[in-house]
């Protein structure tokens, strides 16, 4: 029984070992340097940068590995399965960074990532990061036989390198950004309106949402007979540098003497610092009027003291 148990255990260990061995693969392709429209060999590029060593590295998270790069620009690397970034070419102690490309290492396979064309204005500027462009093309039919000789893996696949995100991790909106969005506003115009506002900042640093802002607010003003009129504002717009440009809508009620009530529509232009804000609010509804607004972020003020 013990013998059976040991055999089973060693068998399972063997299986796990096999699974681990199969979890790696080879990714390869060809690096093609171009100066303007003409191709430049790796040897010529090396000569142009004073004989500096040129190498290609792949990275996944904190793990970096150097690909084998031959004189004709063919490169390959054996690595654990996963998605890797190629984002620079080492040039001696310097590096030429280019738009990140993601390549896939598939378990037990030789994956062709295509031909990575790195185009520079002048080959002498390699490593100086002046200007460059990456173009990935599918020449795997020509590339794979050469890679097969070097890498020697059975299953062959084609998964071309594709552009990766510029930043893998970015700090998004923090609780501090939200805290300073809570603002107390006084609007001076036909009436003095006091409001509480919550300005929702852009929720991402990149992409279509990186400039959009939203506004939610509520407040009150007093009519001729000191009657209270409630005011609700909703807004959406964009942030341009320190300026907010918003279209607003809302409502004002109940009807009291001397105050135009009903649906509110208009626009706001405001400029703000962490603590103070100054703006112009123009309303087309319920009546054409304009207000000068001053706002303060109480939590911003508190935060600047702590």
């Amino acid at each position: 029984m013990r013998l059976f148990g040991l055999t089973l255990l060693s068998g399972l260990c063997g299986l796990v070992g096999t699974a681990r061995a199969d979890a790696s693969g080879v990714v390869g392709g060809r690096l093609l340097l171009r100066a303007g429209t003409s191709e430049v060999s790796l040897a010529a590029a090396r000569a142009a940068v004073g004989g500096e060593r040129i190498a290609l590295e792949l990275r996944r998270g904190a793990e970096v590995l150097e690909a084998t790069l031959d004189e004709d620009g063919y490169f390959w690397a054996r690595a654990p399965a996963g998605v890797y970034r190629i984002e620079y070419l080492l040039v001696g102690k310097r590096a030429e960074f280019f738009a990140p490309q993601e390549v896939v290492v598939q378990p037990g396979a030789l994956t062709c990532a295509g031909t990575l064309g790195l185009e520079l204005d002048q080959i002498e500027s390699l490593g100086a990061n002046v200007n460059n462009r990456v173009i990935v093309t599918d020449q795997c039919a020509e590339t794979t036989p050469r890679l097969r000789k070097a890498a020697g893996t059975a299953t062959e696949r084609v998964t071309l390198a594709r552009p990766g995100p510029q930043y893998e991790h970015t700090t998004g909106v923090t609780w501090r950004d939200l805290a300073i969005g809570l603002r107390a506003e006084v609007a001076f115009g036909d009436f003095r309106v006091v409001r509480g506002l919550f300005r929702i900042p852009p929720l991402s640093r990149e992409g279509p949402w990186s400039r959009w802002i939203f506004l939610v607010g509520g407040g009150a003003l007093r009519g001729d007979r000191d009657e209270l009129v409630r005011d609700v504002t909703l807004g959406a717009g964009i942030q341009l540098w320190y300026f907010d440009l918003l279209a607003i809508g809302g409502a004002r009620w109940p009807e009291v003497q001397g105050v135009n009530t009903g649906p509110v529509a208009g626009g706001v232009v405001r400029v703000q610092t962490t603590i103070l804000g100054l703006g112009l609010r123009v309303e087309a509804l319920p009546a054409k009027t304009a207000y000068l607004t001053v706002d303060l972020a109480p939590l911003g003020l508190l935060g600047s003291l702590l």
Binding site: F97, V130, H169, R176, A179, L276, L301, G303
Partner: protein, 190 residues
């Protein structure tokens, strides 16, 4: 009216002192958790010679200069909201800043309301290539102003990797994920 005056007083004095100053002064220089696996930690010091009333530099900006992300800024500062609740990455002219892979240049330094924009030459000489995630010590830069009308200059002190700096860096990263990327400083001889 009194309330507005009090508010104005608070706002105007916000730049001079903070209620948290005594607590913040006791906080050690400490590296924050990495923003991601790809990040590197850069340790830089800036000495400012400027007489009795010279304040330390409180903010440094690095600018990325490689083609795909040229122009994006990263900074580290001791002037931020609710700083008393956070780790201290700037202290006594020492700075810890996290940079993603790329080519970076020191772009500007700030002390209170004074900004120093680096010249092209100074920026290029400060250039660093961040490829493999790691911890980099850039050493100390000294900001000098020779005479009343002289121009500011930035001089490299060449102390990167010195025993003292290694110890400071070790203390700042001890117990954080950065620790595995930094060699422990040699123990002092008994």
């Amino acid at each position: 009216m009194k309330r507005w005056l009090l508010l104005l007083l608070l706002v105007s004095h916000g730049a001079c002192f903070r209620l948290s100053d005594p607590i913040y002064a006791m906080k050690p220089l400490r590296a924050a958790e990495p923003h991601g696996d790809e990040y590197s930690l850069v340790f830089l010091s800036i000495q400012r010679e400027g007489g009795l009333f010279a304040r330390d530099i409180d903010t440094v900006y690095f600018r990325r200069v490689d083609p795909p992300a040229r122009g994006s800024f990263v900074w580290t500062t001791s002037e931020f909201l609710f700083r008393v609740f956070d780790l201290r990455s700037v202290k006594d002219g020492h700075f810890l800043i996290q940079l993603s892979p790329g080519v970076w240049e020191l772009d500007r330094m700030v002390s209170g309301r004074t900004h120093w924009l680096l010249s092209d030459e100074a920026r290029v000489s400060s250039r660093i290539y961040i490829t493999r995630p790691g911890v980099y010590d850039l050493g100390t830069l000294r900001l000098d102003k020779p005479g009343l009308f002289g121009k500011y200059s930035l001089a490299v002190q060449g102390d990167a990797g010195s025993a003292e700096r290694s110890r400071q860096l070790w203390d700042a990263v001890k117990g954080t994920p950065w620790e595995r990327l930094v060699a422990a400083p040699p123990r002092d001889a008994p």
